[in-house]
C-alpha cells in the first residue's frame, strides 16, 4: 500500500498567482490586514531577493520598486484548495484533506491506471501544474511519511519502504509539527533533525515527552501507520456556467440562473439540506470596469476587475428554487451588473431545512418566504438599506438612525424565549413620564434655506420658494462631534415660529403638511446652520 501527499508551498501566494498567471514571472508580495495597517503576508523568491520580508507594513513594502503588491484573497485560496482537492479526486477517490495546502491520496490499485509510483508522482505534479499550482509530491508506504516528505522536499519524492528513517533523517524536526512546548524542549536538548530525534531511546523519551514524544519519534523514523481520514464532501455547493457569448439583460440571465438554481437545489435536496445563503458571481466584460467602480458602494466587494458579486442572505434556509430566483431577480433589478456577463458562478451555503410547527391558537403570520420576497420588492423600489424598522443610534448626531431588518414573527418569538414581545411596551408613550406636547416631522433630506440674521438671530427665512418673518426664535442649540472622522459635524439648531408672507402662507400649510400652527399663516419649524458647509437647512416641522 502506498500513499501520495501533495503539498503546495507558499499557498496564499500561489492561489493569487493561479488567478493571475502573469504574476509568476514577477516579484510579488501579498498584503493582508485592516487599513491603515496592512502587512506583507507572503512573498515569492524574487520579492524576497528584492528585500521584502513577511511582516513588513504595506507602507514599507511599497518603497521597493518593481515589486507587485496584491491583497491576499481568501476567495482564491478557497478556489485553489478546491482545485487541490480536484487534483486528488482526479486520481484517487480515497483522499484525506489534510490542510488547505496539503492532501494525501491512497494509491492502492492505481498502478494499472497510472503506472509505477514515480509515474504517479509525476502525473500528480503535472496535474497540479495544469491547475496552476506548483506542488511538492511525495510517495511513501505510510501516510505521515508521505506528508512530511512532501513538506520537506521539493519536486517528486518517492521513498521506498524501509528507507523512511534515512530519508527523513536530514529534515528539521519542525517538519513533524511538534507542539510549541515540545518544540522548545527539543530545541533545548539540541535535537534539531529528525535523525537525532529518531536516535533517542523510546522509553526514556516517553518518560519525558509522553505520547507526543513517542509519536514524533515514530514520525521521524517514518514508522507511523495510520489510515486516511477520508475527506467528507463539502457543504458548500457551487455551480458555474461559462458562456460563449456574454449575456446582457435580466430575462436571459434569469433563465440561466433558474437552471443553475434548479441544479443547486436538487443537490441540496439529495443531501437533505437547504440554502442559507446564495452567492452569485458574474464575470463581466472587462470594458465595463469603470462603470462598476462607480457602484462600489453598492456592491459588496470586487476581487477582480470585471467581476460582480452579490450575496443573498436568507433569513430562513430554503431550497425552493422558484422563490430563490424571485429574490435574486429582485436584487439584480435594483443593482444590475451593468455589463454583459460572460461567466456565472452560483454558490449555496447549506444549512438544515427549516422545520417549524405553527401553534394551534397563535395568529397566523405571513409566510416567511413571502415576507422576504415582499421586503425584497420594497427594497427594490425604495433602495437597499431603506427598508426595515428605524431604531435610534447612540450618538448626538442629529437625525441619525439605523434601519433594522424586519424579523419574521416566529424568530421574534424564539429570540424572546418563546414569549412574544408587545410592540407597545417599547414605545415612548409607554414611559410614565412621557409627555409629548408636539411631535416633530423631519425632512429627509433637509431642505436648503436662506436666512436673514440680525445680531446673530434669524429674522427672515426663505425656503422652497416660501418667505416668512420670524416671530419667535429659540436657539441656537448646538451639537458637534465625530471630530476624529472625515464626516464630523457642527450644527446650530433654531426653533423658529414663522409668519409666512400672504402669497406663500397657504402653500406653506400644504407643503409642510399639518404643521403646528400657532396662529393662521404661521408655522413652527426647526432650521439649522451647518457650520462645516456654511449653509442653512430646514430640518423639519413641528406637527
Amino acid at each position: 500500500m502506498a500513499f501520495a501527499s501533495i503539498f503546495v508551498p507558499n499557498f496564499m501566494l500561489q492561489a493569487v498567482v493561479r488567478a493571475e498567471p502573469a504574476l509568476r514571472a514577477r516579484a510579488l508580495a501579498l498584503i493582508d490586514g485592516n487599513p491603515p495597517l496592512c502587512h506583507v503576508v507572503a512573498v515569492n523568491e524574487k520579492a524576497a531577493r528584492a528585500g521584502i520580508e513577511i511582516g513588513m507594513t504595506k507602507m514599507n513594502a511599497v518603497q521597493f520598486t518593481g515589486v507587485e503588491m496584491r491583497p491576499r484573497s481568501a476567495a482564491q485560496e478557497k478556489i485553489a484548495h478546491g482545485a487541490l482537492l480536484d487534483i486528488g479526486w482526479s486520481v484517487s477517490p480515497r483522499m484525506e484533506d489534510t490542510a488547505q495546502d496539503t492532501i494525501v491520496l491512497d494509491l492502492s490499485g492505481l498502478g494499472q491506471l497510472f503506472g509505477a509510483e514515480p509515474e504517479i508522482g509525476a502525473h500528480l505534479a503535472w496535474r497540479a501544474s495544469e491547475c496552476g499550482l506548483l506542488a511538492g509530491v511525495a510517495i511513501a508506504a505510510n501516510v505521515d511519511t508521505a506528508l512530511v516528505a512532501a513538506r520537506g522536499f521539493s519536486g517528486v519524492t518517492v521513498i521506498p519502504p524501509g528507507e523512511e528513517a534515512e530519508r527523513l533523517g536530514q529534515l528539521p524536526v519542525g517538519m513533524l509539527e511538534p507542539s510549541t512546548e515540545t518544540a522548545e524542549t527539543l530545541s533545548r536538548w539540541g535535537v534539531r533533525t529528525c535523525a537525532s530525534l529518531a536516535g533517542l531511546p523510546v522509553l526514556e523519551l516517553s518518560e519525558r515527552l509522553g505520547q507526543e514524544g513517542v509519536r514524533l519519534r515514530a514520525l521521524a523514523r517514518g514508522a507511523v501507520e495510520r489510515s486516511l481520514a477520508i475527506a467528507e464532501p463539502v457543504h458548500f455547493f457551487e455551480e458555474e456556467m461559462e458562456l460563449d457569448d456574454a449575456v446582457e439583460g435580466l430575462d436571459p440571465l434569469s433563465f440561466l440562473l433558474g437552471r443553475l438554481l434548479d441544479q443547486l437545489c436538487a443537490r441540496l435536496a439529495a443531501r437533505s439540506l437547504a440554502a442559507a445563503a446564495i452567492r452569485v458571481r458574474f464575470e463581466l466584460q472587462p470594458d465595463f470596469e469603470n462603470a462598476l467602480d462607480r457602484r462600489k458602494e453598492i456592491f459588496r466587494k470586487i476581487d477582480l476587475p470585471g467581476a460582480f458579486e452579490r450575496e443573498l442572505q436568507l433569513p430562513i434556509s430554503s431550497r425552493d428554487s422558484k422563490m430563490l430566483l424571485k429574490l435574486l431577480r429582485l436584487r439584480l433589478q435594483s443593482n444590475p451588473p451593468g455589463a454583459p456577463v460572460r461567466k456565472i458562478t452560483l454558490g449555496a451555503e447549506s444549512a438544515r431545512p427549516r422545520a417549524t410547527q405553527g401553534g394551534l391558537f397563535l395568529p397566523r403570520f405571513p409566510d416567511p418566504e413571502k415576507l422576504e420576497v415582499t421586503i425584497a420588492r420594497i427594497a427594490n423600489v425604495v433602495g437597499e438599506g431603506n427598508v426595515g424598522s428605524p431604531s435610534p443610534v447612540d450618538t448626538w448626531r442629529p437625525g441619525e438612525f439605523h434601519m433594522q431588518r424586519f424579523l419574521a414573527p416566529v424568530e421574534v418569538a424564539e429570540s424572546t424565549g418563546g414569549r412574544r414581545r408587545d410592540p407597545a411596551a417599547h414605545s415612548p408613550a409607554s414611559c410614565p413620564n412621557f409627555k409629548a406636547s408636539a411631535s416633530f416631522r423631519m425632512f429627509r433630506p433637509p431642505m436648503p434655506a436662506a436666512l436673514e440674521l440680525w445680531e446673530g438671530r434669524p429674522t427672515r427665512v426663505v425656503f422652497q420658494g416660501l418667505r416668512g418673518d420670524v416671530l419667535a426664535a429659540a436657539g441656537p442649540w448646538r451639537t458637534s462631534g465625530d471630530w476624529w472622522r472625515e464626516d464630523g459635524w457642527r450644527q446650530d439648531d433654531w426653533d423658529l415660529e414663522i409668519h409666512f408672507h400672504p402669497a406663500s402662507g397657504e402653500r406653506a400649510a400644504t407643503a409642510a403638511g399639518a404643521a403646528f400652527v400657532s396662529r393662521p399663516g404661521c408655522g413652527l419649524y426647526r432650521f439649522y446652520f451647518d457650520a462645516l458647509l456654511g449653509c442653512w437647512f430646514v430640518r423639519g416641522v413641528y406637527d
Binding site: 485592516n34 491603515p36 495597517l37 513588513m56 507594513t57 504595506k58 507602507m59 514599507n60 524542549t185 533545548r188 536538548w189 539540541g190 535535537v191 536516535g199 533517542l200 531511546p201 526514556e204 518518560e207 519525558r208 515527552l209 509522553g210 443610534v393 447612540d394 450618538t395 448626538w396 436657539g475 441656537p476 442649540w477 448646538r478 451639537t479 458637534s480 462631534g481 471630530w483 476624529w484 472622522r485 472625515e486 446650530d492
Partner: protein
C-alpha cells in the same frame, strides 16, 4: 463683571482637559479678576492654580466638587480658612474610609462639615438636576430647601449653566422657578471643563478612558458640543442677557470668598524636649557636641559659622525641623542604616555637626545661603539618602509611628501622561488595533535628541503608516495635547510631610496603594510652593551597594571598613579615575564622565567634586567644560572675569561650575543679598520664565554698573550666569555625591569581589548592565563563578579561593525563578544536599518545570549529580523526567531518598556547543561568566584586521581602524547635536565610537537594531581619551546570544 465660579481642571482626573495654569492664563487674558477651581473630590490642582493666579494677579477661589453617596455632586466653594479646613477634613474622611480613588459623603456630613462653605446647586451632576430628573420640580424644591437647612440659606446659590442644549435650558427654567420660590440668588457659571474650545477633543478621549470605551462606541457619553470652555464676560453676559442678576451675583459671591491658599495655617511640629528646656537650646547643645566631634574645640571658623547658622535658625524658628531630621538620622544610625544628607543641606555646618551630612562646609567654604536665607521665606530642604529597599522603608515607618496617621504623610507624585503610555491610551480610544498601537506608540519619544530631518511624516512613513489618515493625524495632535496632563495620583518615592496639628486640615489625605500609607493630595513641588516643609527620604541604589559591601567585607575579609574614615588620597582610586577605569563607580561611570576623567586627571577629593558637577547639562550647555579642562591642562590661562570674583572662581580656574558660585558672583559683582541670589537661582530653575530672567538680568546689570563693572566684563559675567541654565549641581550636593563616588571607587579598587557582588545584588542601578559589570570585574582579575545550586545563595556571594575571593553568581540571576522557590531550595539544601533533580523536585514540590528548566539550562544543576562531566543537557534530560508527574498509581508521597543509579544520569543528548552555552547564559541570566562572545571569533576577526578594545589606546591619533563588539550602550544625548555614542564591548574591554548625525541617518537601522557591530573609522586618541569616529557601520554576525544594550533614548 462675570466671574467663573465653577471650573474643573485636568486634576479632576479624566473630567477636565486643561491645566490649572491654562485656566488662570485664559482668565487673565480675558481681563477677568477671579476664578474658582472646583476639581472632583480634592484640591489636587489648587496649589498650581493659586500660584498661577498670583502670577497673573487674579484671585484664585478654592473649592471642590464633592461626590455624594446619593449620586450627585456638591459644588462647594471655600469662603474662609475655617471652610477650607472643614472641606479638607471632609474630603480626607471620605477618602480614607474608601478604596483608593473612590469615596463619597452623606448629605448629613455636609452639615457636620461646618461653616465657611458656599454650595452651588450645580450643573447636570448637581443636586438640583438630580432631584429634577427623579422627582420633578417638587423634588427639586425639596432638595434645595434641604440644602439650605444643611449649609445655611445665605450659602446656597442656584446655579445656571448654558451650553446651548434644550434639555439644559429646560432644567434652567425649573431652576429659576426654584430660586424665585425659595428667594435664593441665581448664579451663572459655565461649568468649565477646558480652557479652549478645541480641548473638547481631549475631554472626549478622557471620557472614553474613564468609561473604558472607544470614541466609536462612546455615543452620548461624549460631549454634545464644545461649549464647556472658558467664556469671557461679554459672552456670558450675552448668554444670560435675560437673567442679568445671575451674572451680577458672580461678582458679589466672588467678593465674599476671602480665602486664599496663602492662608493655609500650616505649622511644622516641634520636637519634644524636656520641661524647662527649649528646642533651640537643645539643638545648640547637639550642634556643640557635634562640632567638637567633627572639628575639635579649636576650630574658630567652625564655631563662628555654627553660631551664625544657629542664630538664623532661631530667628526663623526652625530648630524643630533640624531636630526632627536629626532624630531620623539618629534612628538610622542606631539601626545601622546607612544615611547621608545630600543637596543644599550639605552647605550647613549645623547639619554637618548634627551628623545629617558628611561634607564639611567650613573646610570647603560652602555658601550657607544656598541652604537657608532669611529673605527667601521658605523652608529649607533636607534630603536624606538611604539604601534603597527595606532599610529606607524602616526609616519611613519610623516617621509614621512618631507623628501619627494624620500628622505625617507621603507627598503625592502626580503621574502625568507622557510618551508611550499616553500614546497607547489615546490610540486605544481611537480604536487602533494592538499592532498599530505598538507602532504608533513606538513613534512617540524614541530618542532624546530629535533630528530636524526626523519629521513626523517621515517617522510615520518609516513605521509604515500614512499620516494623511485622519485618525492617525488626530492621534498625534492629541498625544501632543495630553503631554504632562495629570493622569492619576501616585506616591512620591521618599518625600514626607509632617505637621504640628492635624495634617488633614491643611491638605486632604488619601490612602495610598501600599497598605498603611497615606498620601497628601499635593506633589512635592506643590508642597514646597505652599510652604509645607518636607523631608525627602530617598532610596539610593549605591547606598545599598555600599552597605552590602561593608557587610560582605566584614563577613569574609574579617575587616571593618568605616565609610566616614576611608583613607583619603588612595592611589589605586585616583589611578583608576585617571584611566577612566570606572565601570560601576557612582556618578563617574557614564560614557561622558569617562571621556572627561583622563583630561581632568583627578588627584584629590575636590577634583572628584568637580568631576561630578562638570558633566551636567548646565556646564555642558553653558560651554564651560572645555575652558575648564583646557585651563586645567595648562592650555589656557585661568580668567576670573573680574578681580573681585577671584575668591569665588579661583578654585574652578575661573569657570563657574556650581550653583553657589553663581550666587556668590551675583552677590559680589552686583551686590545681591543672599536671598536675592537665591531668587536668581530659582529664576533659572525648573520653572524658568523668560520675563523673570530679563528682570533679573536688568537687576544684575544695574548692580554691576553700581560696582563699577561695566562693558565687556559685565557682559561676560551676565552671560556666564544666565547661560548656566538649570541643571547645575550645588557644590555641596556635588561634594556629597563625590563622597559616595570616592567610597564606591575605594571599595571597587580594594574589595572588588565584595563590591561586585553587592552591585549585582542591587540591580537595576547605574549605567551598565550586569553582563558588563561581570566582564569588567573579570578584567580586573576577579574570578566569577557560575550559578550552582549546590553552592549559590539567592544573592551573589563570595567564596574563598587560594589567592583571595571569587564571586559566585546568585540564584536571583536565574530568569523566571521565583524568590520563594529559591529560598525553599536553600532551606532544603541546608538540611541535606540534593541527590538528583528528582530529589530536588520531590523535596521542593512547588518548583515548576519552567524553573527547573531555567536552572538546568544555565548550568546550575551540573554539580547536583556529583559526577564529573555531567553537563547542562544531561540536567535538562533529567528535568523533563522529574517534572512530568507520575500517574496516581506510581506516585508515592514520601519516597525515601535514594542515590540515582549511574544509568539514570546518562543522557543521549550531546553537550552544548560554545554558541549554545552563550545563548543559554544570556537567555537564562542576561550575562555570562564564561568567555565573551567575541572570543570565539577573534582569530577570524584578527585576520580581517579588526582591533581589540585594548589595542586602541596604543595606536596613534588618526589611525584608520576597524573595531567590533557587542553594543552595551547607545546614547543620543539632547546636548550632543544629533551625535550618537556607542560603547562596544569585546573580550578585552570597552571601545567607544561616535556616529555622526549623517551616518546615523544613513544607517539608522543597522545602528539601532544590531547587537554586534563592526565600526570602521578614524581613531581619536587625544589626552588619553580614545574613541573611533565612525565612517562605516556594519552589522556583525557573531552570536545569536541575546546581548542587550542600555539605550538612552
Amino acid at each position: 463683571m462675570y466671574v467663573e465660579l465653577h471650573a474643573r481642571s485636568a486634576f479632576s482626573f479624566l473630567e477636565g482637559a486643561s491645566t490649572p495654569e491654562e485656566l488662570a492664563a485664559v482668565c487673565k487674558a480675558n481681563g477677568m479678576s477671579a476664578m474658582a477651581l472646583l476639581d472632583r473630590d480634592g484640591f489636587y490642582g489648587s496649589p498650581r492654580f493659586h500660584l498661577a493666579a498670583e502670577k497673573s494677579k487674579i484671585r484664585a477661589h478654592i473649592g471642590a466638587e464633592v461626590t455624594s453617596a446619593r449620586g450627585w455632586r456638591y459644588p462647594l466653594l471655600v469662603e474662609s480658612r475655617e471652610g477650607y479646613r472643614n472641606l479638607c477634613r471632609l474630603i480626607t474622611r471620605m477618602k480614607l474610609r474608601a478604596e483608593k480613588g473612590d469615596g463619597s459623603v452623606q448629605p448629613e456630613e455636609i452639615a457636620e462639615a461646618g461653616g465657611g462653605l458656599v454650595c452651588l446647586t450645580g450643573g447636570a451632576e448637581g443636586p438640583l438636576a438630580h432631584a429634577l430628573a427623579h422627582g420633578g420640580i417638587e423634588a427639586a424644591i425639596e432638595r434645595v430647601e434641604q440644602l439650605c437647612r444643611t449649609i445655611g440659606r445665605e450659602n446656597v446659590y442656584v446655579e445656571l449653566q448654558r451650553h446651548l442644549t434644550r434639555e439644559e435650558e429646560a432644567r434652567n427654567q425649573a431652576a429659576v422657578e426654584v430660586a424665585r420660590k425659595l428667594k435664593l440668588p441665581l448664579l451663572a457659571t459655565n461649568g468649565v471643563a477646558h480652557a479652549q474650545p478645541e480641548q473638547r477633543e481631549l475631554l472626549d478621549v478622557f471620557t472614553c478612558i474613564r468609561h473604558h470605551r472607544v470614541l466609536a462606541n462612546a455615543g452620548r457619553l461624549l460631549s454634545r458640543n464644545s461649549e464647556r470652555h472658558f467664556k469671557p464676560h461679554a459672552e456670558m453676559a450675552a448668554l444670560f442677557a435675560d437673567l442679568p442678576e445671575a451674572i451680577a451675583n458672580t461678582a458679589e459671591l466672588s467678593s465674599r470668598l476671602q480665602f486664599s491658599l496663602n492662608d493655609l495655617g500650616y505649622e511644622f511640629p516641634s520636637y519634644p524636649v524636656s520641661e524647662g528646656d527649649s528646642q533651640i537650646e537643645f539643638l545648640r547643645r547637639r550642634a556643640h557636641e557635634g562640632r567638637i566631634t567633627r572639628y575639635g574645640d579649636a576650630n574658630e571658623c567652625a564655631r563662628k559659622q555654627i553660631g551664625r547658622e544657629l542664630a538664623l535658625i532661631e530667628k526663623l524658628k526652625l530648630a524643630g525641623y533640624f531636630l526632627i531630621v536629626w532624630d531620623i538620622v539618629r534612628f538610622c544610625k542606631e539601626k545601622n542604616i546607612l544615611v547621608q544628607g545630600r543637596g543644599s543641606a550639605a552647605n550647613s555646618a549645623v547639619c554637618y555637626a548634627l551628623g545629617i551630612t558628611a561634607v564639611d562646609p567650613v573646610g570647603m567654604d560652602l555658601l550657607f545661603e544656598r541652604f537657608l536665607s532669611e529673605e527667601r521665606g521658605e523652608w529649607p530642604d533636607i534630603d536624606l539618602d538611604l539604601p534603597s529597599g527595606d532599610q529606607r522603608e524602616r526609616a519611613i515607618q519610623y516617621v509614621y509611628e512618631r507623628y501619627g496617621k494624620l500628622g505625617a504623610a507621603m507627598t503625592a507624585n502626580v503621574i502625568t501622561y507622557r510618551g508611550r503610555s499616553a500614546a497607547r491610551e489615546i490610540g486605544k480610544a481611537l480604536s487602533f488595533d494592538a499592532e498599530t498601537l505598538d507602532r504608533l506608540s513606538a513613534l512617540v519619544g524614541s530618542w532624546e535628541y530629535k533630528d530636524p530631518n526626523d519629521t513626523l511624516a517621515r517617522q510615520f512613513r518609516d513605521a509604515g503608516l500614512d499620516i494623511r489618515h485622519r485618525r492617525i493625524h488626530k492621534f498625534f495632535e492629541l498625544c501632543q495635547a495630553v503631554q504632562d496632563l495629570p493622569r492619576h495620583l501616585g506616591q512620591h518615592s521618599g518625600g514626607m510631610v509632617v505637621c504640628q496639628g492635624q495634617l488633614d486640615s491643611v491638605v486632604p489625605l488619601e490612602p495610598a496603594t501600599m497598605p498603611g500609607r497615606v498620601v497628601v493630595q499635593w506633589d512635592k513641588e506643590d508642597c514646597t510652593d505652599m510652604g509645607i516643609v518636607k523631608i525627602d527620604l530617598l532610596g539610593l541604589g549605591m547606598m545599598a551597594v555600599l552597605e552590602e559591601s561593608l557587610q560582605l567585607i566584614s563577613e569574609h575579609y574579617q575587616e571593618k571598613v568605616d565609610l566616614g574614615h576611608l583613607p583619603q588620597g588612595d592611589n589605586a582610586v585616583y589611578d583608576a579615575l585617571k584611566k577612566a577605569d570606572t565601570v560601576g563607580m557612582f556618578q563617574v561611570e557614564s560614557r561622558a564622565q569617562m571621556s572627561c576623567l583622563p583630561r581632568l586627571q583627578p588627584k584629590k577629593f575636590y577634583d572628584i567634586v568637580v568631576q561630578v558637577a562638570i558633566i551636567r547639562p548646565g556646564p555642558i550647555v553653558g560651554k564651560m567644560v572645555h575652558p575648564y579642562l583646557n585651563r586645567r591642562q595648562g592650555r589656557e590661562a585661568p580668567d576670573c572675569l573680574h578681580p573681585s570674583l577671584e575668591a569665588v572662581l579661583e578654585r574652578t580656574l575661573g569657570v563657574p561650575l556650581f550653583q553657589e558660585q553663581l550666587l556668590r558672583m551675583a552677590m559680589i559683582a552686583a551686590g545681591f543679598t543672599g536671598g536675592e541670589a537665591e531668587e536668581l537661582r530659582r529664576a533659572m530653575g525648573f520653572k524658568r520664565s523668560e520675563k523673570r530672567m530679563q528682570e533679573i538680568e536688568i537687576k544684575l546689570r544695574r548692580g554691576m554698573t553700581a560696582n563699577g563693572i561695566v562693558g565687556e566684563t559685565q557682559d561676560k559675567i551676565v552671560l556666564s550666569i544666565t547661560s548656566f541654565a538649570l541643571y547645575g549641581f550645588p557644590e555641596s550636593h556635588a561634594a556629597s555625591f563625590a563622597l559616595i563616588a570616592y567610597a564606591s571607587a575605594y571599595l571597587k579598587c580594594r574589595y572588588l569581589a565584595a563590591f561586585t557582588a553587592a552591585m549585582l545584588n542591587n540591580q537595576p542601578m547605574g549605567f551598565y548592565r550586569p553582563a558588563t559589570l561581570v566582564k569588567d570585574a573579570q578584567h580586573h582579575g576577579l574570578k566569577c563563578k557560575t550559578i550552582d545550586l549546590t553552592r549559590s545563595g539567592w544573592n551573589c556571594t563570595l567564596e574563598k579561593i587560594p589567592d583571595g575571593f571569587a564571586m559566585r553568581l546568585g540564584l536571583r540571576y536565574v530568569k523566571g525563578l521565583r524568590q520563594e522557590i529559591a529560598l525553599a531550595m536553600l532551606r532544603e539544601r541546608a538540611m541535606r544536599p540534593f541527590a538528583s533533580v528528582e530529589d530536588l523536585k520531590q523535596r521542593v514540590p512547588e518548583i515548576q518545570k519552567s524553573e527547573l528548566t531555567a536552572l538546568a539550562e544555565v548550568g546550575a544543576l551540573n554539580s547536583l549529580s556529583g559526577r564529573r562531566g555531567f553537563h547542562r543537557r544531561d540536567a535538562l534530560w533529567q528535568v523533563e523526567r522529574a517534572a512530568r508527574r507520575p500517574g496516581p498509581l506510581l506516585e508515592v508521597s514520601e519516597t525515601p531518598q535514594r542515590e540515582p543509579e549511574a544509568t539514570e544520569l546518562d543522557s543521549p543528548l550531546a553537550q552544548m556547543t560554545n554558541e549554545e552555552r552563550l545563548i543559554a547564559d544570556f537567555r537564562g541570566t542576561g550575562l555570562t561568566v564564561g568567555p565573551h562572545p567575541m572570543t570565539y571569533r577573534r582569530a577570524e576577526l584578527k585576520q580581517r584586521g579588526i582591533r581589540t578594545a585594548i589595542e586602541l589606546p596604543r595606536l596613534p591619533d588618526g589611525t584608520h581602524v576597524q573595531v567590533a563588539g557587542a553594543v552595551i550602550a547607545r546614547q543620543r544625548p539632547g546636548t550632543a547635536k544629533g551625535f550618537v555614542f556607542l560603547s562596544l564591548e569585546d573580550e578585552t574591554g570597552i571601545a567607544n565610537a561616535i556616529i555622526t548625525p549623517q551616518l546615523f541617518e544613513q544607517d539608522h537601522t543597522v545602528v539601532v537594531h544590531n547587537p554586534f557591530l563592526l565600526i570602521e573609522g578614524k581613531l581619536q586618541n587625544q589626552d588619553n581619551v580614545v574613541s573611533v569616529k565612525a565612517e562605516r557601520v556594519r552589522a556583525l554576525d557573531i552570536s545569536r546570544a541575546e546581548v542587550t544594550s542600555h539605550d538612552f533614548h
